[in-house]
Symmetry: C2
Subunit: 575 residues, 2 copies
C-alpha cells in the first residue's frame, strides 16, 4: 500500500498541473480505451493518484477536495486505502450518497472547466458528462496528457506475444465468425463494425494474448467491413505464426496506435456500427464529424456469450478437472497438519499449484482470493505476504479462485469450516447454500431475465432480513475474461440484468453473506443454461451445474433448510 504522505504529494502535483492548465474539476476513471473491466498497469491512473486499488472507480479532483466513488465490493478496502489522504470515499448506491453525475451537477457552474481523458472514457459516459457540463454552463476538455505530467514512472503498454486459438478448440473458425458478423451488419443496414473491446476482438479472430493480468487478451482494435477486416495490434506482439494466420484470413494488420488516424481518413460508404458503451469518447466524436454513425448493440457480445458445442464440451471437461483440484484442496485443508502455521497466502499457493498440475493449464483467471475471518467480509480482499492472516482452527476460510485452460476459463468459490462455528455462522452458511442451490435448481420460463432470477437467490436471505452487496451472477468467457457480458444475474438496476437467459450461456451463481469485522461466506458455482421443455404452459429453460465441489456439510444446519433444499443439496453432492 502506498503511504498517505505519497498520495498527498501526488495530489498536490496533480492540482498544480490542473491550475496550470486552467482546469477546475478533473474526472479520472479506472477505465482504458477498451472498456476493460480490469486494465493494464499503464491505465491505472486512479490507483496512482489516490492509492485506491478498487475497480469501478470515479475520482473527482478539485483544488479544495477530492472524492472517490466505488461499489459495494470495495467499501471496506477502499476505506482503508484512502485513510489520511483527504480523499472522501463515496459509497455508490448507499442512501444519501449522490451519484458522481449529481455531484458534478451541483458543483460545476458557468465558466468552469471540467477535464477528463476522452481516450479512456467510453462515449456514453463521455456524453453524459458533456451534457452535465453543458447544462451548468461549464466547458469540457479532453486531457489525456495531464496524468503524464506527474506520473514519471508510468509503466509502458504491455506487449505479450499474440497466439492463435486453433479451430478445433474454438469450435468455429474466424472466417465463419466474421461471416456471422457481416450477416448481422447487413441486417442492421450497416457497412462496418468497429470493435474496441478486447475480448470481443479476441473471440472474433480466435486470437489470445496476455496484456491484462489474468485476462488472455491483446491490446487491439478491429474494423470489419463487408469484405475487409483491419486489425490494429502492437506489431511487436505479432508472432510469425500469428502473422501467417492473419494473412490466410485476409485480415490486414496495422499498428495499434494508428487506429484514430486510420479512422480519420477512412471513407465509410454505409452507416458504421459502433457500441458507444465500449468505444472511447474521442473515437466516437471523431467519427461523428465524418458522417453516418449508428449506435447499435455490438452483435459479437451475444454471439460470444452463447457457447458453441465444442466450447461446451471442453468447458464441461475442464470444469470437472478444475473441480477435482478444488476437492483435493478442501481435503488438504481439512486434513492439514495443524502444528504447521498456514497463512492465507499458503492456502492460495496450495490451490494454485493443484491447478497448475492439470494438463492444459494456462494461468489463473484472476488472482486467487483466500480470506479467513473478517478478511472474507471484504468481498474482493487480497492478502499480501505481510498482511496475510493465519488459517486457524475456527471460523471460515473463503477461497475464490479459477484458471484458464486450453478449453475453459473457470471460477469457483467455496467457504470451508476450519473448526468450531457459532450458531450464527452455521445459519448464514446454510442460507447462502440454500440461495445458491435454489438458483441452480429452479427452472424458469423462456424470456426470464437475470434481474428476475436474481430474486430466486436473494429470497432465502430476505426471509431473514439479510442481503449481499454485489451481483449474483456474471457470464464467463471461454479462455477469455472471467467476467463477461452481456447477461447478468443481479438487481434490476444493474446493466445486463434485463437480458433474457439463453441456452448455451454460462453464468456464475454466487450469493454471499458478509458481516463486517466478523466473517464472510460465499458459495459460487458456475451454471450452464440449457433448454428444458415445451408444454401447454410454454417453453422452459433450466440450469445445469458445471462446478462440482462439495458444499461444506460441517457448516450446514438443516433447521434453516426446506425439504426441497435438502433434496437439492443431496442431489448436487451425488452429482
Amino acid at each position: 500500500m502506498v503511504s498517505s504522505e505519497e498520495i498527498l504529494k501526488r495530489l498536490t502535483m496533480f492540482r498544480t498541473e490542473m491550475k496550470n492548465e486552467g482546469i477546475d474539476v478533473f474526472l479520472l476513471l479506472s477505465t482504458d480505451p477498451h472498456a476493460s473491466e480490469y486494465v493494464s498497469d499503464h491505465y491505472k491512473t486512479t490507483e496512482f493518484v489516490s492509492g485506491c486499488t478498487s475497480d469501478n472507480v470515479v475520482l473527482v479532483i478539485e483544488q479544495d477536495c477530492a472524492k472517490l466513488w466505488t461499489d459495494g465490493r470495495y467499501f471496506i478496502s477502499a476505506a482503508q486505502e484512502l485513510k489520511d489522504t483527504g480523499i472522501e470515499l463515496m459509497k455508490s448506491g448507499q442512501p444519501g450518497v449522490p451519484k458522481p453525475e449529481d455531484y458534478l451537477r451541483g458543483t460545476l457552474h458557468s465558466g468552469m472547466v471540467l477535464a477528463f481523458d476522452g481516450t479512456c472514457v467510453n462515449a456514453e459516459i463521455g456524453q453524459r458528462y458533456r451534457d452535465i457540463a453543458k447544462s451548468c454552463g461549464a466547458k469540457v476538455e479532453s486531457s489525456p496528457e495531464a496524468i503524464d505530467q506527474i506520473w514519471m514512472t508510468r509503466p509502458a503498454l504491455p506487449c505479450s506475444p499474440i497466439w492463435v486459438l486453433k479451430d478445433e478448440i474454438a469450435g468455429k473458425s474466424c472466417a465463419d465468425k466474421l461471416a456471422d458478423v457481416r450477416r448481422a451488419l447487413e441486417e442492421k443496414g450497416c457497412g462496418h463494425l468497429i470493435l474496441s473491446k478486447l475480448d470481443d476482438i479476441m473471440w472474433l479472430l480466435n486470437l489470445r494474448g496476455d496484456d491484462v493480468e489474468c485476462n488472455p487478451v491483446a491490446l487491439s482494435y478491429l474494423l470489419v467491413g463487408p469484405e475487409t477486416a483491419d486489425v490494429f495490434l502492437q506489431k511487436e506482439a505479432v508472432t510469425a505464426e500469428t502473422a501467417e494466420y492473419l494473412k490466410e484470413n485476409r485480415i490486414k494488420v496495422h499498428e495499434y496506435t494508428e487506429i484514430l488516424d486510420y479512422l480519420k481518413d477512412y471513407h465509410f460508404e454505409a452507416p458504421v456500427l459502433i457500441d458507444r458503451g465500449s468505444s472511447s469518447d474521442t473515437m466516437v466524436r471523431l467519427l461523428k464529424d465524418k458522417g453516418d454513425l449508428v449506435n447499435g448493440e455490438n452483435p459479437t457480445a451475444m454471439m460470444k456469450a452463447v457457447k458453441n458445442c465444442t466450447e461446451i464440451e471442453n468447458i464441461q471437461k475442464y470444469y470437472l478437472l478444475d473441480s477435482v483440484a478444488v476437492c483435493r484442496f478442501i481435503y488438504q485443508i481439512k486434513t492439514r497438519d495443524r502444528s504447521v502455521r498456514m497463512t492465507e497466502m499458503d492456502a492460495a499457493a496450495m490451490i494454485d499449484s493443484l491447478r497448475a498440475e492439470i494438463p492444459g493449464f494456462i494461468g489463473l483467471s484472476f488472482p486467487t482470493i483466500p480470506a479467513v475471518g473478517p478478511n472474507a467480509a471484504m468481498a474482493h480482499y487480497m492478502p499480501s505476504a505481510e498482511s496475510a492472516a493465519e488459517v486457524g482452527e475456527e471460523g471460515f476460510l473463503l477461497v475464490d479462485s479459477g484458471a484458464h485452460y486450453l478449453g475453459a476459463t473457470t471460477d469457483v468459490t467455496r467457504t470451508i469450516a476450519l473448526g468450531e462455528l457459532t450458531e450464527e455462522m452455521k445459519r448464514d452458511f446454510t442460507l447462502v447454500a440454500v440461495s445458491n442451490l435454489e438458483l441452480l435448481y429452479t427452472g424458469f420460463a423462456k424470456g426470464t431475465s437475470g434481474a428476475q432470477l436474481d430474486m430466486i437467490a436473494r429470497a432465502p436471505l430476505y426471509r431473514y432480513g439479510m442481503d449481499f452487496n454485489h451481483g449474483t451472477g456474471h457470464g464467463i468467457g471461454y479462455i477469455l475474461n472471467v467476467h463477461e457480458g452481456p447477461q447478468r444475474i443481479g438487481h434490476a438496476s444493474s446493466a445486463g440484468s434485463e437480458i433474457p437467459m439463453a441456452p448455451g450461456m454460462i453464468t456464475s451463481d454466487e450469493p454471499g453473506i458478509y458481516r463486517e469485522g466478523k466473517y464472510g461466506i460465499r458459495t459460487e458455482s458456475i451454471m450452464l443454461t440449457v433448454y428444458d421443455k415445451k408444454n401447454e404452459f410454454g417453453e422452459f429453460l433450466k440450469h445445469e451445474p458445471l462446478t462440482f465441489a462439495p458444499i461444506d456439510l460441517d457448516a450446514i444446519d438443516t433447521r434453516y433448510m426446506e425439504r426441497l433444499d435438502v433434496e437439492y443439496l443431496n442431489d448436487y453432492h451425488a452429482k
Copy 2:
C-alpha cells in the same frame, strides 16, 4: 354474442367506407381519449366491428383480410367470438406471432394509406405507427369519423352525475394535492400539466363519477397551471354541490368537448408536462405545433399509488368487511342445498348481494366472474344468463370479485372445491396457494422492482414446469379503478414492472394455473407494502395482507408444500 353474419356485414360496410376514403389499412384499438383500460360503450369500436369483447385489442383491417391481437387473458374467449368472422386471432406474445407493429412493417408499402383515430390512440403508440408508416413510405391519416359512417346505433357519451369525495374520506384535500403537483412541476421546470387520464383527474380533484362501467370516473380533462386549474367536464354532469366545490377551489369549469380548441388558443409560457402514454396523439400533435413540450412522467401516478394514512385505515377496515362477505359466500357455497340447481350466475348474485349489505357499498369494482370447470380456464370468462354453467358437485368454482365502498376498492379471487378433486387438481391448487403465500410473506430489499418480485410467485410453479399467462399483481385505486398503475408485479417485459415497490402501495397477488378444457385456479389477495426494518444489510420492505379469506383446505395437498409454506398458510388463516 353478435352473430358472425352480422360481423361479416359490418366488416363489408367498413371496407366500403375505407375504399371511399382511399384508406388501405385501418387500425382500430380498444382505447379511448383517456388511455382508460376499460372504456365506455361509446368507444367500443373494436367490439362493434369484430364482435370481440376483449380489452387490449389491436384490430387491423385490410380489404382482403383482418387480424385481431389480444393478450393471454382472452385467447380462449376471443377464439370463440371470432369464429367464422374471417378475422384472424393473433395471440400476442406467443412464439411465431408477429407484433402488430412488425406485421404492419411487412404489409405497408410506398403510396399506401394507414388510418387510425388519433383522438383515441395515445401519442406514444401514434408516433410508433407513424414511424412505421414513414419507414415504409406510407401515409398516415387520422380518421375519427370513419366508424360513425357504419355505426348508426353508436351509444352517446355517458354522463353520470359527478360527486365530491369529502376530505375526511380522501385524507388529503384537493388544494393540498394541487400544491404537491405544482411543486413537482416546478422541480421539473414546467409551467403546466395536462391530464387526460380519468382516474388521475378524479384522484387529484377528489371527484368521482360513473361514466365507465364499474370505474367511478367522469369524462374529463385537466389543465393545472402555476396558479390556475381548468377542468373540462360535461356540464350536465356537474351537480350544484360539485359546481360550488370547484368554485371554492378556484377550478374553472369548461365543457368537456372544448379541450382541443382551448389548448389550441392557450399561450404557454413555460414547458408543458404531458405524459405521451396517456394523452391522445391528436392532442400532443396539436401542442407540438405550439412550442415547448415536455414528455414527462405524470407525477400524479406515483402520488396516487402511495396511499395516505386515512386511505390505508379505511382500506384496512373495508377489506375486512369485504373479506367477511367472501367468507360468508364460501360458507354458503360449501353448505348449499345440493337439490336446488345453482348456476354461475346464481353464485355471482349471491356474493354480490352479500357485498351490497355492507354499509358504504357503492357498487361492484368489476362484474363478478364466477366460473366452474373449463370456464375458469378462461382467465376473464364472463357467463351470460344462457351460457352459465351449473355449479355442480365436483371440481372448482373460481370467483373473482370486488366492490367500491366509501373507503376502499376491493378485488379478491378464491377458488372453491365443490366436491371430489383429482390428484392433479389438488397439486395445482396447492402450488397456486404456495405461490400466493410466498409472494405475500417474502420481505425484500428496498428498491426491489415488481419484475423481481414476480419471480417469487412463479418459482414454485416453474419447479413443476408450469406458468400462468398473465401478470401476478396490479395496483388498486382508492374508490377508483380496480387496476391502477404505475407499479406492476409481472414479467420484466411488462410496463410498470421496473418500478420499485414503495411503502403505502396496495397491489394484488394473483397467481393461477389454467388447464384449457379442464379447469382454472386463481388465488388473489391484496397486499399493502410496508416498511420492515433497517439493519447492517440495508433497508427492507414487506407485505401485509389486506384480504382475509380462507384458502380452501379441502384442495390442499401438503406433499407439495415446504415446511415454510405450511407455516405461512397457518399464519395466514390465523390472521
